[in-house]
């Protein structure tokens, strides 16, 4: 096999590998991603019931109600709009009223959000960037602590 043929074979293998990956990536990016919405955008009917997405905002003060067993209901707000959320399971350590959180789940036709998981950062001063940004956009941003305060887990 000449040098040229060898290079051709290698190139063919590489191209086959990469195109398979491109197909996989395109396929996966269609189904494997969650969009992020704020309560305001949910109210604007930008997302329908039955579609999985991430709802981000603050846990509204006085809204957390424990139900039977491990059921819990609370409201997620970005001040302009508020969405009721139900969740069954154990909330993260840093979940509390006024805290920025992200809930992953689907809307019911009634407008209630059924969360399959709830995320809060491992840090008190943390606000999910999307939430911070949307709060800033609406002019209701209040900074917690000093700006350089958002230190957190060094995973790097």
């Amino acid at each position: 096999m000449t040098r040229k043929q060898r290079r051709g074979t290698l190139l063919a293998v590489a191209i086959a590998g990469v195109s398979a990956a491109v197909l996989l990536v395109m396929f996966a990016l269609r189904d494997g991603v969650d969009y992020f919405y704020t309560p305001t955008r949910v109210m604007a009917k930008e997302v329908g019931p039955g579609v999985s997405f991430r709802l981000g905002g603050l846990v509204a003060a006085g809204s957390v109600k424990r139900g039977e067993g491990t059921k819990v209901a609370f409201d997620v707000t970005d001040v302009t709009a508020t969405i009721p959320v139900v969740f069954e399971g154990i909330l993260p350590d840093l979940f509390r009223e006024g805290q920025g959180i992200i809930a992953i789940g689907k809307l019911e036709p009634s407008g209630r959000f059924v969360a399959s998981s709830v995320l809060a950062k491992h840090d008190e001063n943390y606000m999910p960037p999307e939430v911070a940004k949307s709060l800033k956009e609406q002019g209701v941003w209040q900074h917690v602590g000093k700006p350089d305060d958002t230190k957190s887990a060094p995973k790097q």
């Binding site: 060898r6 590998g17 996966a28 990016l29 399971g89 154990i90 008190e124 230190k151 957190s152």
Partner: protein, 659 residues
């Protein structure tokens, strides 16, 4: 005073690094031996100065000097000593200093062990290494100085984030950094080779051990992070495809490809141009990781301070190094002579397949990590790419890679016979299929693909053992001859076998825990119990307890199996004094078949507690597998032929050392 010495040493280190960059570079171009000789001493001095600086910061942490802003923000006097020390790198500024320290130590290693490299080449390597040092030293001094004083000094610090106060996490960053920064060595060698316009097998013999050391460290670092996440975050997840995790995983994938392609280059002088590119990419991905984590551009459950200014500076540094290296590559790569021919079906061919799959996998992770950024810039939509994406893209690429491992190690160099190799593997295949059937027989539920993946793990493990047995001719020769062969097999061969065996172990662990994990969440009052995976977990109630710097609520659980009590577990919720933050400590009972994992949840209105219990089958194999992989790396490093600087003095200025 000590703090000022640290600061001053850092400034001085920057000046020395500039000298180390400029003088040897000019020396190498003008063939001036005196100027080239400056590189070595400069590298040693720079390392010493950065070490002094690092020691000064550590001193400030250990003595709780709250007149230093960095110490005030990240430490507390009542913290246990281990976490005072680990607090040094538990924040952006200190971790950058650690990064630069490791970089300088690697540079010093070239100065110490590199006297068998050609003078001009060594001068260039040191200059390139210094250029990275200059960039990051300036970055620290100008944007992230850990020595800034706080006026007036504080009486007490704010404390380290409690979830970081953990032994595994204390050593997680240093291991990761040795990995990331270790790839700078391969990068400097690659750029120096392009600059010099010449490359030979000695290059690979130099680069491979250093890359291997970096890879091992990165493997352990990632495994530690995963282990920590498993027991600390309270739900037993060990990998989340979080952007920050991906930031460490991409250099690992590229580094894995690099240690394989460097073998081909060293043994057969082939794939030179490609190996150079991989060396550049591995370090570029490390820089990308630094950028992603420290700029706050990505949403992650764990990222550093969100400071756009720092992000921009790192982006600039990254663009200069990645862009510059790739530009140099584009102009110079064609000048490098290509070497050894081989047939597609050969050891080289198998390693090319390894590289194609690993690089493609790196690209899919890269796309998944950066796609949200690109999409937001494009149309403002905010998305998150989660596990489903990676399961759909990454996993299918890993399956052919795993299947190819035993076949590739059976193929001879230059020209192989695929059919013969497969024939020799019949026995391994039969055993793997037996594993498949056994898995089906034992667990009837769960995804149908899971037993297949278990069989693939078995295929890799048994394949490694079989490869070893056939190398020592276990079934053909007498016992003495077998032992003789086993002794004479080079350590790097054992390293390969062990590392691949570890991969198999890990695959089985990942599959078992992903496919057959069970979870029960229940509200229980004291005296009530829940059942999981054959265990009966009874909640006994809670009791308060005081720790060194936290107050905790201890949940007591009695575990019985088949009616006979055999274990007591404690799952706690902690509230730290400073900062006042809650953490959950899971109760974990490890056994050969899996972990029983019990978490005390929130207190409910009726006096009960939400309790979550998991059974993670064989989850420990994931970390055992990573440790075995790293041990394989160590064995390989101990190989006499691969010792650092292996090209001997006698071969010093020969462009093509005979193999």
């Amino acid at each position: 005073m000590i703090v000022e010495i640290g600061h001053f040493a850092l400034v001085l280190a920057t000046v020395i690094a500039v000298v180390q960059l400029v003088v040897p570079a000019i020396g190498a171009t003008t063939r001036n031996p005196a100027m080239m000789a400056i590189g070595g001493p400069a590298a040693l001095t720079q390392a010493l100065l950065v070490a002094i600086s690092f020691a000064a910061l550590t001193h400030a942490y250990v003595t709780s000097d709250f007149s230093v802003e960095n110490v005030y923000i990240n430490s507390h006097s009542a913290k246990p000593m281990l976490y005072k020390v680990s607090g040094v790198w538990g924040n952006h500024e200190g971790s950058m200093l650690l990064w630069v320290l490791i970089l300088a130590i690697f540079g010093a290693a070239v100065a110490i062990y590199g006297d068998n490299l050609p003078d001009t080449f060594r001068a260039r390597v040191l200059a390139v290494q210094a250029s990275i040092g200059v960039a990051f030293l300036l970055f620290i001094l100008l944007t992230s100085n850990p020595f800034n004083r706080l006026v007036p000094a504080a009486i007490e610090g704010r404390g380290l984030n409690p979830i970081l106060q953990d032994p595994a996490l204390a050593f997680h960053p240093p291991f990761l950094y040795v990995g990331y920064v270790g790839f700078s060595m391969a990068f400097s060698f690659a750029v120096a080779a392009l600059w010099e316009g010449r490359i030979d097998a000695a290059w690979a013999r130099w680069v491979r051990p250093w890359t291997l050391a970096a890879w091992m460290s990165l493997t352990l670092g990632i495994a530690m992070g995963s282990w920590w996440a498993y027991y600390e975050l309270g739900w037993g997840g060990w990998w989340f495809w979080d952007p920050v995790e991906n930031a460490s995983f991409m250099p690992w994938l590229a580094g894995t490809a690099l240690i394989h392609s460097a073998v081909v280059m060293e043994k057969r002088e082939a794939l030179k141009v490609w190996t150079i590119l991989l060396a550049i990419l591995a370090f570029s991905l490390s820089l990308l990781g630094a950028f992603l984590v420290r700029s706050g551009v990505l949403t992650s459950v764990h990222s550093f301070a969100v400071d756009p200014k720092r992000g921009v500076v790192i982006l600039v540094i990254m663009s200069i190094f990645v862009g510059g290296a790739l530009l140099l590559y584009a102009f110079r790569a064609s000048e490098l002579r290509t070497g050894g021919l081989f047939q597609p079906i050969s050891r080289e061919g198998a390693l090319v397949l390894n590289n194609v799959l690993l690089t493609t996998a790196t690209i899919t992770v890269f796309v998944g990590t950066l796609y949200p950024l690109a999409l937001e810039a494009f149309n403002g939509a905010k998305i998150s790419v989660g596990p489903p994406y990676f399961n759909m893209t990454f996993v299918p690429l890993m399956i052919p890679l795993l299947l190819a491992i035993p076949v590739g190690t059976m193929l001879p160099w230059k020209r192989g016979d695929l059919f013969a190799a497969l024939q020799r593997l019949t026995f391994v295949a039969v055993l793997s299929i037996a594993a498949l059937l056994a898995t089906f027989a034992i667990v009837r539920r769960g995804p149908w693909l899971a037993p297949v993946t278990i069989a693939i793990g078995a295929w890799v493990m048994i394949g490694s053992v079989y490869d070893w047995l056939s190398r020592i001719r276990a079934f053909e020769v007498g016992r003495d001859e077998m032992f003789r062969r086993a002794r004479n097999l080079p350590r790097s061969a054992y390293g390969t076998l062990l590392a691949h065996f570890g991969v198999g172990i890990m695959v089985i662990g990942i599959t078992a825990t992903s496919a057959w994990q069970t979870e029960v969440i229940k509200a229980v009052k004291p005296g009530e119990s829940l059942a999981i995976a054959g265990y009966e977990v009874t909640f006994r109630g809670t009791a308060p307890r005081r720790g060194p710097n936290y107050q905790e609520t201890v949940g007591l659980f009695a575990v019985s199996k088949g009616g006979t009590p055999f274990l007591e577990l404690e799952g706690t919720k902690r509230l730290y004094d400073a900062p006042r933050q809650a953490t959950t400590e899971a109760a974990i009972h490890a056994s050969m078949f899996g972990d029983l994992y019990v978490v005390l949840g929130d207190e409910l209105s009726d006096g009960g507690y939400a309790v979550r219990a998991y059974f993670h089958p064989m989850v420990r194999l994931i970390w055992i597998g990573s440790i075995v992989m790293s041990l394989g790396g160590i064995l390989s490093l101990l190989d006499r032929r691969l010792r650092v600087g292996a090209p001997t003095r006698a071969r010093r200025r020969e462009p093509q050392p005979a193999e």
